[in-house]
């Protein structure tokens, strides 16, 4: 019921990011071929497809890690050609990784705090002194980080080194670090991979809450079909680098090309 209400609201929302005619190849390997789609403000957008369909490549193109040979990407009305990840980050794109990429020796708190780096105004020397304005600033950031910790219900691991935590919790910490950036667009690369049912349910809840509470736009790659269909407002399906379907979960689910791609019918 809530999901439908939300979907209705999104239909008229402005486009946050649009991908137009993007092609990416590594030597002779064509990872993405002429793909176009858009992400609307405030929606949860899923990118799905079988193994090697080009999903992660697509995400890497969006956050500027890969540079497509053809096509354009428009983010918040600004067309860009040559993007770098750190610029994407300052513009409000945060991401998590398929294989957790945290600072294993640091605590949960410090890891999430590192997500605030781009928002710190004082330079390293000020911060090292922890005095005056730098101190005040750190306290403000700490407060926000505590909000994130509270939001993700990870108070109990606040002081634990991340490397010691179970995988499901590490994923949650990684989401926390991305949230600490206060992103406009959150890219999640297989947020539920390797999780058990309960962890998946928790994570789904968090993704929905992120969208509802912070109004963050979410683009996620996911293998678990049940999760995708429940969670997302619209779904893009890629297969062998080609966009084969784009629409609501119901539309995509009944699309013959998608069924074929997933069942592995030869082309």
């Amino acid at each position: 019921m809530n999901a439908t209400a939300r979907k209705k609201a999104n239909e008229n929302a402005e486009t946050m990011l649009s991908v137009e005619h993007v092609s990416l190849s590594f030597g002779g390997v064509k990872a993405i071929r002429n793909v176009s789609f858009d992400i609307r403000k405030g929606e949860i957008r899923a990118i799905i497809g079988p193994n090697g369909a080009g999903k992660t490549s697509m995400l890497n193109v969006i956050n500027g890690f890969y540079h497509p040979q053809e096509g354009t990407i428009t983010f918040k009305g600004e067309k860009r050609s040559d993007m770098r990840p750190h610029i994407a980050a300052t513009q409000g794109i945060a991401r998590t990784f398929q294989n957790v990429a945290l600072f294993k020796g640091m605590t949960t708190l410090d890891n999430i705090m590192s997500g605030r780096t781009l928002r710190m105004k004082r330079n390293m020397f000020w911060q090292a002194l922890y005095f005056g304005p730098a101190r005040r600033e750190e306290l403000e950031h700490r407060e926000y980080v505590e909000e994130v910790i509270d939001f993700l219900e990870i108070q109990h691991i606040r002081r634990q080194p991340v490397g010691k935590l179970p995988y499901g919790l590490q994923k949650r910490v990684e989401l926390g670090r991305a949230l600490a950036m206060e992103p406009d667009l959150l890219l999640l690369d297989e947020p539920m991979a390797g999780m058990n049912l309960e962890e998946k349910e928790d994570m789904s809840r968090f993704v929905i809450d992120v969208s509802e509470e912070f109004g963050t736009t979410v683009a996620l790659i996911e293998h678990d079909m049940g999760v995708v269909m429940d969670l997302s407002d619209r779904v893009v399906v890629l297969d062998h680098g080609v966009l084969i379907a784009d629409g609501t979960p119901d539309e995509v689910q009944s699309n013959q090309d998608v069924i074929d791609a997933y069942l592995g019918i030869s082309h």
């Binding site: 407060e143 505590e146 939001f151 109990h156 606040r158 309960e198 349910e201 809450d209 509802e212 509470e213």
Partner: protein, 660 residues
């Protein structure tokens, strides 16, 4: 005596009146704390009065009437505690519900109590209530504490705690009349009014609603405070289910009576850290918590460096030798005192700090019997841990151990104001100011439990020892006999086995059977640590439980228990003849344990009837498939082979010779 004490202050015979008194008497003392966003937030008694007043008047505006039932469900949070007193101030009745109750359990309670308003802590609880709202027609309004994820719940009858308070504040701003009429409502309340209905988790059958009056709880709480000299300076941490009588009396009753501060943990997982920060002076936990803490300490010590390990072992011996005597104030030689003082500095003190119990004045354990070894361990480390015997029907206190008179195997002397008698068939019965009014809408059960002159059947078999302390043997109905007439006390055998850190849960069978046989649950924390050290590879509980080396280890434990049973002539015949390790952990979600984590023996006997049959046959292995319920209500199944091991019992005489 107890009643006299209560009569001395007739104006404070209800909780709302106590709140008014505390706001005057302890104005700026902290009443309750909560850790939020990593920082402890406090409310003084005056603040609490302010919050409660606004909320109560808001509730009144929403139409809450005298006699209406208000359910409270969630983790221990200040606002949930405030809901109790706000509800009571209007003469309505709070009904706390276990926060981990599955939908059906909750439906039963809400329907039975005809709940009209619900305070649900968070989205999870609101969802649960909404999922059953079709079945509980009486529900009018749902109020939530934690707004997360609830922004888009467009229902007209779901609102936040703040919204209700805003309603009340709005009324208060209009003029004096709102507050005056609220105070009038409070003045109308009297001690004999129903204060709360607590539903017992019940080892058998459907839950029963125990109706307790303000007198019941306030007088009992007052006596409890007097017994242990508790005053407004105590610190305690509220982390046990609010629907449980223990939490209700300790964190609410005793806090309001003495005026001490109660701290609510940040989340259920952070209790240990929060406890270390608060340093409670008054602490309460079921034996399970102490068992877990001990297991964790032992596991960590196994992993500690050789010097630390040596130090720990050496001073553990010193503590065993003289620690309890020092705590009890008995005579102890100078050498031992010196060694103990060094041990206190090097080992006991740091460990107490680790457990967050450095400032402990009194710690209690109750709910079920604690292993004497575990109990002694804590006491020898200088922690004033005591046992208490109580019931929901008695507003907790029946007996408690007075300081300096602690015997591990007894539960102490009758508490202040309590009379105890033991019937011919060995059952313990009591009479006290805390004796409950009735079971809600269940006159038959009330009659069966409470005699006409006010004695309550406990259902426990017990006896008084030479010191005048009560000793509980088992549930009166559980004590049985083997076919050859030997006395069989299942809990006694179970507790002997549960003393081993590797063993988590035991279910013993033997009544009207040829011999005693047990089902065992291994402790995953302890055994997985052991497995790691011994290079044993496993994928989960089931595989670990079935591992031959684990069986070997458990067999040694069973053998030791048999040897100790053989030394006790009365029950030497109830040695364990056969045992098996269950393929799944016993779980309250599957109904195998009660919500307070007690084993439901009868239910397990039915559920694992095939295994039970196998225990009393000649087979050495049995293949079983069991349905399991996940926390969200989904179902799955576990299938596996369960091995059954034969034990060789010791002849009673030989054991005696060996002992000599």
């Amino acid at each position: 005596m107890a009643r006299a004490a209560a009569k001395a202050t007739p104006t404070d015979d209800t909780f709302p009146k106590l709140l008014l008194r505390n706001a005057k008497k302890f104005t700026d003392r902290p009443a309750i704390r909560e850790k939020d966003l990593g920082i402890w937030q406090s409310w003084t008694w005056a603040d609490v009065l302010d919050e409660v007043r606004a909320f109560a008047i808001g509730l009144k505006k929403m139409g809450l009437k005298r006699g209406d039932a208000v359910a409270i469900v969630g983790d221990n949070k200040p606002r949930l505690y405030w809901t109790f007193v706000a509800t009571q101030s209007l003469g309505a009745i709070p009904v706390p519900v276990y926060q981990d109750a599955v939908a059906e359990e909750m439906t039963y309670v809400l329907r039975h109590a005809e709940v009209k308003y619900i305070l649900a802590q968070d989205q999870e609880q609101v969802d649960k209530v909404l999922s059953i709202s079709e079945d509980v027609k009486t529900i009018k309004e749902i109020i939530f504490d934690e707004p997360r994820g609830l922004q888009n719940y467009g229902h007209g009858h779901i609102r936040s705690f703040e919204d209700v308070q805003a309603l009340g504040r709005n009324e208060l701003e209009k003029g004096k009349s709102a507050e005056e009429s609220w105070l009038k409502e409070i003045a109308k309340g009297k001690g004999s009014d129903t204060s709360v209905i607590l539903y017992t988790s019940g080892t058998t059958g459907t839950p029963k609603g125990v109706v307790l009056s303000h007198d019941n709880i306030i007088i009992t709480a007052h006596n409890g405070n007097k017994f242990d000299n508790l005053d407004e300076h105590e610190e305690m941490i509220a982390y046990l289910p609010m629907a449980w009588v223990g939490d209700h009396v300790f964190s609410y009753g005793q806090s309001y009576d003495a005026g001490f501060c109660v701290s609510c943990p940040e989340s259920p997982e952070t209790v240990l850290d929060d406890r270390r920060e608060i340093g409670p002076t008054y602490f309460f936990a079921p034996p399970r918590v102490y068992e877990n803490m001990l297991t964790q300490i032992m596991v960590r010590m196994e992993d500690a460096g050789p010097i630390k390990k040596m130090m720990f072992d050496a001073f553990l011996k010193v503590a065993r030798r003289c620690g309890e005597d020092i705590l009890n104030g008995n005579q102890v030689g100078f050498g031992d005192r010196l060694l103990y003082a060094i041990g206190d500095f090097l080992v006991y003190g740091p460990l107490r700090n680790r457990m967050g119990l450095s400032r402990l004045k009194v710690g209690y354990t109750a709910g079920e019997a604690i292993g004497p070894e575990i109990f002694r361990f804590y006491r020898s480390f200088g922690l004033n841990l005591k046992q208490l015997y109580g019931q929901t029907e008695a507003a907790v206190y029946v007996t408690a151990q007075p300081d300096g008179e602690i015997f591990a195997e007894t539960v102490g002397k009758p508490s202040i104001g309590v009379d105890i008698r033991i019937t011919k068939n060995g059952e313990v019965q009591y009479k006290s100011p805390g004796v409950f009014v009735e079971y809600y809408k269940n006159a038959a059960a009330t009659r069966a439990t409470k005699t006409r002159d006010g004695w309550v059947h406990t259902g426990d078999a017990g006896l008084f020892d030479s010191h005048g302390h009560l000793k509980i043997i088992d549930r009166a109905k559980d004590v049985g006999k083997l076919k050859d007439g030997t006395l069989f006390a299942p809990k006694y055998i179970e507790n002997k086995l549960k003393f081993y850190p590797n063993v988590k849960e035991v279910v013993a069978f033997g009544d009207r059977r040829d011999y005693c046989a047990v089902m065992i649950n291994i402790d995953l924390v302890a055994v997985s640590n052991w497995a790691e050290r011994n290079n044993i590879i496993y994928a989960g509980y089931q595989e670990l439980a079935a591992h031959p080396d684990v069986y070997k280890m458990v067999k040694e434990h069973v053998d030791e228990v048999n040897r100790s049973l053989a030394a006790e002539s009365d029950i030497a015949g109830s040695q364990i003849h056969r045992f098996l390790i269950l393929h799944k952990e016993l779980d309250a979600d599957d109904g195998e344990l009660t919500r307070t984590q007690k084993v439901r023996r009868g239910f397990i006997a039915d559920r694992y009837a095939e295994l039970l049959k196998a225990l009393y046959s000649k087979t050495s292995s049995y293949r079983i498939s069991t349905e399991v319920t996940f926390e969200d209500g989904g179902k799955g199944s576990i299938t596996g082979d369960v091995k059954i091991v034969d034990m060789k019992p010791y002849p009673a005489e030989m054991a005696k010779e060996a002992a000599e």
